[in-house]
Symmetry: C2
Subunit: 233 residues, 2 copies
């Protein structure tokens, strides 16, 4: 955790430092992210940085937790209209709010993506529970879908979690790349992306998931015998 000194800082200064840190860790590996760059861009002395954080790793862990925390806060601040809605309507909401978050804090999104999917500079020490809690969230959603009757109970739950989590996680970055949106512009709150109409994409993805997950009226296709869903690993 950052030292108390950091939290005693005026908010502007603290935010500026965090912004520069996020930018650095969003565009570089843990190894190549440079404290020297961060302090230079934030306009503080190297020594000051080490009054705020124990070391590089301290900052890194803080940023990753921050990313998770901010996303949680964002979701909580934009709750679905009806908490008991149909699973796929709920997913449509989740996809939309998740995208809005990713478009407004794209660099924070990259920090999390790197931490979860590309590098683990300190083993699974911290990340593990962040990733796991996201997966558990999807799992409970899908479980709810099964109970609602909107998800086929024959579906393999692990596979369903894999599919939904990967597609949802990739969705934002895919859209950013496809539309060639600039992370800088997005971060500055550029209104550019508001011109985007994503309802079609959203609809295509959700309706694909619905077709793939919902109970299937026809028999389980051509392999009717091995439909067990968890053949003890």
């Amino acid at each position: 955790m950052p030292k108390p000194t950091f939290f005693n800082l005026p908010e502007d200064k603290r935010d500026l430092i965090l912004e520069m840190a996020i930018e650095e860790f969003a565009s570089n590996d843990y190894e190549s992210a440079s404290i020297s760059q961060i302090v230079a861009r934030a306009g503080i002395a190297k020594g000051s940085f080490y009054q705020y954080f124990e070391d590089k790793r301290d900052l890194y862990f803080y940023l990753v937790e921050l990313a998770a925390e901010e996303k949680r806060r964002f979701l909580a601040a934009h709750p679905p209209p009806d908490p008991k809605m149909n699973l796929f309507d709920y997913m449509r909401w989740l996809l939309r709010v998740g995208l809005t978050f990713e478009l407004s804090r794209p660099k924070l999104g990259w920090v999390a993506f790197r931490a979860i999917h590309v590098e683990r500079p300190f083993g699974d020490e911290v990340l593990d529970h962040v990733q796991r809690s996201a997966l558990d969230y999807y799992r409970s959603l899908l479980q709810m879908g099964v109970e609602q009757g909107s998800v086929d109970p024959e579906i393999d739950m692990d596979m369903a979690v894999f599919i939904v989590s990967r597609l949802f996680a990739a969705y934002g970055r895919h859209l950013i790349e496809r539309e060639q949106l600039s992370l800088e512009d997005l971060d500055k709150g550029s209104p550019a992306y508001r011109d985007l109409d994503v309802t079609d994409m959203e609809e295509h993805l959700i309706s694909f998931l619905e077709r793939g997950l919902r109970p299937c009226p026809r028999a389980e296709k051509d392999r009717p015998d091995d439909a067990d869903q968890e053949p003890a690993p």
Copy 2:
């Protein structure tokens, strides 16, 4: 491209250098991948390295092209039993062969993953065509599926390509992480993964894709009016 000197090397030595280079670029960013580490592990002098490659970037580009080329070769060496088979059977084959490749050369897979999905140290200079050709491959597959009648022609093609490519790309890494397979062991040809029975996972993924993509006998659900597939962006 590497200098002629590199290709004049005895095969063992060349392969050893490449193996160490792949290992380094698989576990590090472009920036943090270290030539010093590579030459140390390969047992050659720093000066020798620069007889073989122009510079770090030369090696990097070569490795990325190599990864793409090796995967193409692997697919070509394990062709599907019947080239005219049903789309989803074809996908089952592709998933299986792709997984086998990823399990036998996992580090090469990481080099490609980093290059395509996490970093572009030199703009889109080289990678673009590698990624694009993979996407075009999936697109033509799906197009074929439409013509076969196994894919719903109403499906949005871009979304379908997104879904299939992301899931296929994530599948191998997901399995490696889930089973906690060691990249070292896999690279050494450890037989460990042969004990794995992946047919169930495979079947779950493919049958999910089939449900999601196949023509839907029922009406287009509850939003029958806006079924256009590309409302000019």
